[in-house]
């Protein structure tokens, strides 16, 4: 399998959306989940999407990650317009360019922690030695040495999220999208996860975009965007990252 050529220009931002809309329609009930969002996110940024429940955070994140299609508008990621990619090209693109961390149950229960972490590399056909050395290194960094062979069911929630984070960053994606990665966790555990992601952000330069209600995560964001009813109502840059 070869990597698809991605038109990366140094000037291209990590994400650029133009006039982005998502409209759901079920049995005549129309929900405008995302309304006319124009957003440019720089590479290497650490961005939080906040807002009340139902404000469109997840919907926006899903569109940026190519998990659902916009009703209107365009999305560019890393200089590539993904709006019209076919579904299978989108899948391949996600595999190569995007890392995901979800709220919970991120890991495949039948694979070990290590196999979960290297899952996308397996799909990409990366040779075992390379896979192994990258994952082992990462496991040391996330403080999971010795737990490589465990199944997710035998890991704590925090440990599972660490593996999910390792899996998201291991392929050196253009972008990591994390939807409420710290929900369901106690504050000490979630602070640890935030530290971890912040460190990957600084050390690897990986762009992170979060959707969250976690105030600590909001506090640590370098850019803070608030959505209300699908619109951006606040967009603030903070120069003192935690």
């Amino acid at each position: 399998m070869t990597h698809e050529p991605t038109a990366v220009t140094t000037a291209a931002p990590a994400v650029r959306t133009k006039g982005l809309w998502k409209i759901f329609e079920h049995d005549g009930i129309v929900v405008e989940a995302v309304r006319d969002v124009d957003l440019t996110i720089e590479r290497g940024d650490f961005v939080v999407l906040a807002g009340p429940s139902g404000s469109g955070k997840t919907t926006l994140l899903n569109m940026i990650g190519g998990l659902s299609r916009p009703s209107r508008g365009r999305i560019e990621v890393d200089g590539r317009d993904i709006t019209d990619l076919t579904e299978s090209r989108l899948a391949r693109w996600r595999l190569d360019r995007v890392g995901f961390v979800f709220q919970a149950y991120n890991l495949l229960p039948v694979l070990t922690a290590l196999e979960n972490a290297e899952f996308t590399m397996l799909l990409r056909g990366i040779p075992p030695e390379e896979r192994r050395s990258r994952v082992e290194e990462l496991f040391a960094e996330i403080g999971m040495e010795g737990l490589e062979g465990r199944r997710p069911g035998k890991l704590s929630g925090g440990q599972q999220q660490r593996v999910a984070i390792a899996r998201a960053v291991v392929g050196e994606p253009a972008l990591v999208l994390a939807d409420e990665p710290t929900a369901n966790l106690d504050s000490k555990t979630s602070d640890g996860l935030i530290d971890l992601m912040s460190r990957f952000n600084r050390e690897l330069g990986t762009t992170f975009i979060f959707a969250t209600h976690d105030t600590e995560l909001m506090r640590r964001a370098r850019r803070f965007i608030r959505l209300v009813d699908g619109r951006v109502v606040e967009d603030e840059r903070r120069d003192a990252p935690a």
């Binding site: 399998m1 919907t59 899903n62 990650g65 998990l67 659902s68 579904e87 299978s88 899948a91 391949r92 996600r94 595999l95 190569d96 995901f100 979800f102 919970a104 149950y105 991120n106 890991l107 495949l108 229960p109 039948v110 694979l111 899952f119 996308t120 397996l122 799909l123 990409r124 056909g125 990366i126 040779p127 075992p128 899996r167 939807d179």
Partner: protein, 426 residues
């Protein structure tokens, strides 16, 4: 993890394998359905094959053998005019001895058969008189095993006759009774022969017990003016599976003898062939119903496992698996599950059939005086027969079930929308 397990195919295979293993209890339940279904199939198939071998055996023994050599028109006309001439008979017997024991020929019965009338002071009835070689015939037809009175064509008694119990009753015959056989001889004239009843048999089959009379070949030839000839040479083979091969060989050897035709038992006795086929058909209907039940059980298992893993499929899709990958993963899981449980089913079915029934399954409680099918008396004890084609067929069925039962669940898995799936908790 070896190198060739990398890339999509390897990942899918590994995921499928692990998932089948993880769903231990559910897999076992499916396995059970498979085991019972396939086991039943293997069992019933072996028993049916065994039963049919019995039918064929009984049919060929009482009838024209596995393979028969006769004049081309004898099958339809059944008169002495259509007999094997002495030279044709010689050629036929030469061909038979050429094929010989190595060709699977166990017995060779030369017969001179004629339709005629049996009369006694008590009355007259139409019969089929067969002039036979007693020692060969006793092994061939085993009719002498059904003797109830007297002897089977004793040595030195040229005029001995062996008759069925119903004929004896209706013509008021006892051992020693005189009987006149009348038939059309080789010259086309009606001629009679006096014989004496030396033995009485009961086959249990009314058609046989009223119609068949055995006499010695020599006396039949004298009576009918057919010196050195016969109406048929009937061959008993080691197994019905050798029929086609032997018939082909004999056909080649007798290619330049136009007066001698080689017929296999299905050709010579189409009604027996039809009965076996009918019974097979009944079996197939039963098998198909079994298979449908098994397939539904497998579909249910796989579908449940797909629906329970919606979020998981959402995750793998988000990470970069395509709809096709997901469908393939479910297909592999289904085929794997079916293969494993189907294999167990086949082995178990064979084992149970072998352990409990290799000494025969006795149906005699169900039938009185044996059972009759297509004019053949059947031993009420059926022995299972294990045939490779049957086993391969079962393996094929298992595979078909696996593939067939996985299609719908796999399709459902491909329809999962990632964004929707991620709303599921677990």
């Amino acid at each position: 993890m070896s190198r060739f397990l990398d890339g999509h195919a390897g990942v899918l295979g590994r995921l499928a394998l692990r998932n089948v293993r993880r769903q231990g209890r559910r897999s076992i339940l499916t396995s059970l359905a498979m085991v019972v279904g396939i086991g039943l199939l293997v069992f019933s198939r072996s028993m049916a094959d065994g039963g049919h071998e019995d039918w064929i055996d009984a049919g060929v023994r009482l009838g024209s053998g596995h393979v028969t050599i006769q004049s081309p028109d004898f099958a339809t006309r059944r008169t002495l005019a259509e007999r094997l001439s002495p030279t044709d008979l010689e050629a036929a017997l030469a061909a038979v001895s050429d094929v010989g024991r190595e060709g699977g020929i166990l017995e060779t019965a030369t017969r001179l058969e004629v339709r005629g009338l049996a009369s006694s002071p008590g009355g007259a009835l139409p019969v089929v008189v067969a002039g036979v070689e007693p020692d060969v015939e006793s092994r061939f037809s085993q009719l002498d095993e059904r003797l109830i009175d007297g002897e089977y064509l004793p040595d030195g008694d040229e005029l001995a006759a062996f008759v069925g119990v119903d004929l004896a009753e209706r013509l008021d015959l006892q051992l020693g009774s005189r009987l006149v056989l009348t038939g059309q001889d080789a010259a086309g004239d009606i001629s009679g022969q006096l014989v004496r009843v030396r033995g009485i048999f009961r086959s249990g089959l009314p058609e046989v017990d009223t119609r068949i009379v055995h006499v010695r070949l020599g006396i039949a030839r004298d009576w009918l003016g057919a010196e050195g000839s016969a109406t048929s040479v009937a061959l008993l083979l080691e197994s019905s599976s050798l029929v086609d091969r032997s018939a082909r060989r004999l056909g080649q050897l007798l290619a330049d003898v136009p007066g001698a035709d080689v017929l296999t038992w299905p050709e010579a006795m189409p009604e027996l062939e039809a009965a076996v086929r009918m019974d097979d058909f009944g079996d197939y209907v039963f098998h198909i119903i079994t298979l449908i039940i098994v397939a539904l059980a497998v579909i249910n298992t796989i579908l449940m496992s797909v629906l329970n893993r919606t979020r998981e499929f959402g995750v793998t899709r988000a990470l970069g698996m395509t709809r096709r990958d997901t469908g393939a993963q479910v297909m592999i899981e289904g085929v794997l599950l079916s293969a494993v449980s189907g294999f167990v089913g086949i082995v178990l079915g064979l084992a149970v059939t072998w352990v409990f029934f290799r000494n025969g399954l006795d149906f005699s409680g169900l039938m009185e005086n044996g059972m009759e099918a297509a004019g053949v008396i059947i031993d009420p004890v059926i022995y299972p027969k294990f045939r490779l084609p049957t086993l391969l067929g079962s393996v094929g069925f298992v595979f078909a079930i696996g593939v067939g039962a996985s299609i719908y669940p796999a399709y459902r898995a491909t329809r999962i929308e990632v964004a929707e799936a991620m709303k599921f908790e677990a």
